[in-house]
């Protein structure tokens, strides 16, 4: 059998080639400067219908689309039948943009928005440490405003609330006594002042939205 001879026409190296290029995110770039979007951490808040399967839909979306998620919390709101999901994600700008749009597409989603860098963010951690040096343990707890939740001859358990950074610092300091167990809730957050956490993301707000500058989130308290 003869091999297929294909089609006629100028070969690839005989063709003109364009000057431009795009980066991995499909954005046109100056071929000289390889611009890349660095990932950043941000908080996305979604108001959703409180119905079975919502959480599965959200977590399924994140794993399916390989979005980098740091934490996800969910809880009821003041309105019956509505829950708020707070997500901390780490993605480059185009990824964050996609996350917001894909979340908005889920049928139970009522409003989705990215919070401002100054939003109030809080997390709760329960830290169970060895209580061999009770005075020192108490001093550290005091330093981080940690509340004693439980104590036994061998252990002391504290509740710490605050921004992620504070909790991490507290855990690190507690670790000198030997940490037995930790449970953390993940970050929950609200917008400040009259800014409405549930305000929907405006549709395509600017032609160059994906290129916009962002400000580093201010560390909370």
């Amino acid at each position: 059998m003869t091999r297929d001879q294909g089609l006629d026409g100028p070969a690839p190296d005989e063709r003109p080639t364009p000057a431009g290029r795009r980066n991995k995110q499909g954005i046109r770039i100056d071929p000289e400067v390889e611009a890349r979007h660095e990932p950043r951490r941000t908080v996305i808040s979604a108001l959703v219908e409180h119905e079975p399967g919502v959480l599965a839909e959200v977590s399924g979306l994140f794993s399916r689309r390989q979005f980098n998620i740091e934490s996800l919390t969910v809880g009821p709101t003041d309105e019956d039948g509505r829950a708020r999901i707070t997500l901390v994600v780490e993605e480059p700008d185009p990824g964050i943009d996609q996350i917001k749009k894909q979340l908005r597409k889920l049928l139970p989603a009522i409003a989705v928005r990215e919070l401002e860098p100054d939003a109030m963010r809080r997390e709760l951690a329960l830290v169970k440490v060895n209580a061999e040096r009770p005075d020192q343990v108490a001093a550290v707890a005091d330093m981080y405003d940690a509340k004693t939740v439980d104590s036994s001859p061998q252990t002391a358990t504290f509740e710490i609330t605050g921004a992620r950074q504070k909790i991490e610092a507290a855990i690190e300091t507690f670790s000198q006594f030997g940490i037995r167990e930790i449970a953390r809730t993940g970050t929950t957050a609200l917008a400040r002042g009259t800014d409405d956490t549930a305000a929907p993301t405006p549709p395509e707000s600017s032609a160059s939205e994906a290129n916009q500058q962002y400000t580093q989130p201010a560390d909370d308290d």
Binding site: L7, P18, E57, P203, A207
Partner: protein
């Protein structure tokens, strides 16, 4: 059909809850001669409200397979005007519904029982999801009190189908079940279309209810933007006016939005060359001078040159799939992109949109048409495009002493049919030849599995298309031998329903597309791609009761095709083609569209 007694079926139900005995509706005697315009009888059960929801939505055909958990719904269908097509396999039901949706523009309906029935639907749902085709799937489910207990034929259907449906619902209330179906119907076609599914536990469909379903309406949280921001439209219009090398890229969304007409007018008025994606085939007449035909992996050389060298791309209803773009880095690298799409999530997902125009394609292209006052100065560019059309002509050699070239068969089928003939395909080389060598001029005449690439799509799709198409539209399935083998049990359906469809199997006794890749990228090692033997598809067709034909030589092609098309019922032509034929041009995965290969050694 035959007078054989129906086979005795062993009952599948181990958990059948038969306590709900239904009374005959009081008006049942009167409904005997009832016509469609007669006042419908009130619903008495969940199942009846499910069927009523379909009737209210104007459903005329449904495709499915019976089974334990869906029996109440089928029982209600028994009294309905809806024509139910009993399929041979649920995959066929979902593909048929998908094709029905593509050709008619209205959601196609498929039904299956719980467990294996529902899982068999999944391929067709995934296909519809990838291609944004409107489909509604109704699946039976075990009674709610058994759910979660691993009951007989229990599958977490909403869980399994969540990633491959636009939305799905587990319907738990007899008073809501009809409305759930209405809502699923509305959601399947409104905004960006897609498959929806309603899981129907048997106790819910069996339960008594007199609740009529609500009108098909999308829920309040579902918002669709129809018109694009006028500011962006103006900016885009200015860009179009100032462009020197403009291209329109029409995707499947153009056809779904019924925007082919406005896109044609716009392109012709401003003399802008038009490229389509694979699902966009038919959005623009391929015999028009401005048509560059399909771009992408197996697109024409001239389409890929136009896409690579344009300075402005008006992309409508496309998601910039990787089979279209090749490597992102080299896709239309000099172009500013005007992206029209109804789904904001498609904007800048793969390719950055310089001008994001969110909205319905018909509305937004009309807005754009209004805003563009001057045609771009692109005389040189158009001449260049014409030059590429002749430089990279799709002409192929067909020596008389070699086996039949598949391209010739596709052209002969096109020649023998009308402009509005509907083409369905399997997946593989034959599918690409069907794209390349058939000249499409009308929307909704090209029916294929684009995003999922599901072998076996062709025959069930032809069945669905047949019910949706007009009587004077021929339905031709251009299939591969491998693809046909996956779903050819559907012939039994085509024969039973006496469907006038013609299947042309481009038989290379190969998993041809895989063989081509092995020759190019795996040193010609034909691992699991060489069938070496195939059943005689013409004889097989006869065994099903269809008409079988076979072609081995060029001089049989035209007459045999005519005879097969003339046969009033399903016919199958087993066309023995050159097993070495390859699909060109070709852009290897992730490659540069402008560097498409015309021969194997260019890969």
């Amino acid at each position: 059909m035959s007078e054989r007694a129906p086979p005795v079926t062993a009952t599948e139900e181990q958990h059948d809850d038969q306590e709900t005995t239904r009374e005959e509706p009081p008006e049942s005697a009167a409904t005997e001669e009832s016509t469609t315009d007669a006042e419908p009888t009130p619903v008495t059960t969940g199942a009846e409200s499910v069927v009523r929801a379909l009737e209210n939505a104007g459903v005329e055909h449904a495709f499915g397979v019976q089974g334990g958990a869906i029996m109440p719904v089928y029982d209600a269908l028994y009294d309905s005007e809806i024509h139910h097509v009993t399929m041979a396999h649920e995959q066929g039901a979902s593909h048929a519904a998908d094709a029905y949706g593509i050709v008619s523009g209205e959601p196609g309906i498929c039904l299956a029982t719980s467990g294996p029935g529902a899982t068999n639907l999944v391929t067709g749902l995934a296909d519809a999801d990838m291609d944004s085709d409107p489909v509604v799937a109704l699946t039976g489910q075990v009674p709610t009190e058994f759910v979660g207990n691993d009951a007989f034929q229990e599958t977490d259907t909403t869980g399994v189908t969540m990633p491959v449906t636009k939305t799905n619902t587990f319907s738990s209330e007899p008073d809501r079940v009809g409305t759930d179906v209405s809502e699923a119907f509305a959601l399947a076609s409104e905004g960006r279309p897609g498959p929806t599914l309603v899981d129907l536990p048997k106790d819910v469909t069996n339960a008594e209810t007199d609740r009529e379903p609500d009108e098909p309406r999308t829920p309040d949280t579902y918002e669709v933007q129809q018109r694009a921001d006028p500011e962006f439209v103006d900016a885009a219009a200015e860009r179009v006016e100032g462009s020197q090398r403009p291209v329109m890229l029409l995707g499947g969304g153009v056809i779904k939005a019924e925007a082919s007409e406005v896109c044609r007018e716009f392109a012709i008025e401003h003399e802008i060359p038009v490229v389509t994606t694979m699902p966009g085939i038919g959005a623009f007449p391929e015999d028009h001078e401005l048509s560059m035909e399909m771009a992408g992996m197996h697109g024409t050389g001239y389409a890929n040159m136009a896409v690579t060298h344009c300075d402005t791309m008006i992309a409508v209803g496309t998601r910039f799939d990787d089979r279209l773009t090749g490597g992102i880095e080299t896709f239309a690298p000099d172009a500013e992109i005007i992206h029209v799409d109804i789904d904001p999530a498609e904007i800048s997902k793969n390719i950055h949109a310089d001008y994001p125009l969110v909205g319905d394609a018909d509305t937004v292209v009309s807005q754009l048409a209004e805003a563009v006052e001057e045609s771009p100065q692109a005389t040189k560019w158009r001449a260049q495009c014409q030059q590429w059309k002749s430089d990279y002509s799709m002409a192929y050699e067909a020596p008389e002493d070699e086996p039949i070239k598949p391209q010739f068969v596709v052209e002969a089928l096109d020649e023998a049919t009308s402009d509005r003939a509907v083409v369905t395909t399997g997946v593989g080389q034959h599918q690409m030849w069907a794209c390349q060598y058939w000249t499409y001029t009308e929307p909704r005449t090209w029916v294929s599995s684009h995003g999922l690439g599901a072998m076996g799509y062709g025959l069930p799709a032809a069945i669905g298309a047949r019910f949706a198409a007009d009587d004077d539209q021929e339905v031709v399935c251009i299939d591969g031998d491998g693809s046909f083998l996956m779903t050819l049990q559907g012939l039994s359906v085509a024969v039973r329903e006496n469907l006038d469809i013609t299947v042309a199997v481009l038989n290379n006794e190969y998993i041809g597309m895989v063989r081509q890749w092995q020759d190019a990228f795996f040193d010609g090692r034909h691992s699991a791609s060489d069938y070496g033997w195939m059943p005689e598809f013409d004889t097989l067709a006869e065994a099903f009761g269809a008409e079988g034909f076979r072609i081995d030589d060029y001089d049989e092609v035209a007459d045999t095709i005519d005879a097969a098309l003339a046969y009033d019922g399903p016919s199958v032509i087993d066309v023995h083609i050159d097993p070495q034929a390859n699909v060109y041009p070709m852009v290897p995965s992730g490659g540069d569209n402008g560097q498409f290969a015309l021969t194997e050694d260019q890969l």
